[in-house]
Symmetry: D2
Subunit: 149 residues, 4 copies
């Protein structure tokens, strides 16, 4: 995984990362390498749940989406990435001022790609591992994307 | 699981369901029974991803949160519910006008509660199973909730 | 899923089910329908763990393998089924005289197939749900099976 | 996690590791540290499936059991470890002469312990990551172990 990806592709992926629901959630791309993607979010009140902790759904969404983009770094532009499934463990409650997600590809492949995501809770600048996910992804050629039903 | 839960408790849970991130995501409680919770969301543009499909994170958040509230229906008011982990499979792309989530408790318990959630994609009124999750939850007494680290 | 599968195919799948590690574990096919597979095992001492409960690995192996064969019932003979991943929740300790596993396909597909397995602990003839698994499988054409690395 | 565990405890855990189903599967403890457990198995024909690959159930059982013992290294002798659930991804087919499993604790806790297991396929001495699991465990005091139903 030591090949470089072109700057142009990085710029595209960084922008593409923050659209739709992800833009609504205010997640942003941070670091992009081949087989690796890092994202972040500054926590606001609407990311929390009733007790003040950051909602599990925020972390799950971030773990899934960032894993998907780590997979994107390993395929050509003609491919889209779909999530087949993921599993996430919440290791410690998160309540800090930001989250950082680091996703790396565990297994590359023409079709099935497996990534894992680690979510760190940033508390006064200190990073604490708050959640960890394993994500199974599928690379689908753009022309075949409309797989309904 | 055929005992009834008081109307007052139902009203509390229905309101409590839609706070913080969940309110931001516009999910709403629909049906509440002992060991069962149903929620819904009317899909807007900000729930979708770049290709127009409903984002996996929307479904994951809904599956997790609704499962948590199905667990809530089985414990007394002194307990809070935390998600330990969950796993979700995306069975078919979702692209309809609404989602409905049905969560039911598979295993009750004083501490560990297991629920499963089914997410249906509503397309012109027809419901299609789009995702299924298994969620491991923990009932924690309010007095012990601050379990940091 | 109401199409029938030929008796010849059923006989083949029933025999094929109990080979290698599965034969060593003494699991046997019981009921085969399109999109459904049921298996059983009579519990002996070597299926238990140190405290007398049936080992989680016995249930996990049974959930995985039987799910795989439920997928087998939906593809033609030219395809093999590989497990991409699975997740299993242990709902209650199992300690009975037999296990029964019921696997059904949740999502058919040319490549990705999702099944779920329920493991019942048989105690003096009564069946108690002991574990539940979700299994992601892949149909691979026999000619492409040697996918190393 | 840099505290040492007594040699006597290590000896106990190494022996305790290989009982019942695990003995039947011929898995053996190899390295024991606080928060870490390593096991191995020499592959025989009965560990394989119909196509000659090592059966997913062998890897799942090893991932689960070894994770459980990594948790054991973090609790006192009065506690037993139960698996609540686990999820395993099969990254590459395994077909070598041995498997090695390395499990480490991601989150310690008085009750809930999270470990991850990596299974390496040993092929002519070279180790290839073949599977990875996340395991949710529960420490239960021996006196409370009989939690039926």
């Amino acid at each position: 995984m030591d090949e470089e990806i072109p700057q142009e592709r990085k710029t595209f992926l960084a922008r593409d990362y923050s659209r739709g629901f992800i833009k609504y959630c205010q997640f942003k791309a941070k670091v992009i390498e081949r087989g690796y993607f890092q994202s972040t979010v500054a926590i606001e009140e609407h990311h929390r749940q009733q007790d003040g902790f950051i909602h599990a759904g925020v972390m799950a969404t971030m773990a899934d989406h960032t894993a998907g983009y780590s997979a994107f770094t390993t395929v050509s532009e003609d491919f889209q990435i779909l999530t087949i499934e993921f599993k996430i463990n919440f290791l410690r409650p998160a309540f800090g001022e930001a989250l950082v997600c680091r996703s790396k590809v565990l297994r590359e492949g023409g079709q099935i790609i497996i990534s894992e995501s680690e979510i760190f809770d940033i508390r006064e600048g200190e990073a604490e591992l708050a959640a960890k996910a394993m994500v199974t992804l599928m690379a689908v050629h753009r022309d075949k994307l409309v797989l309904k039903g």
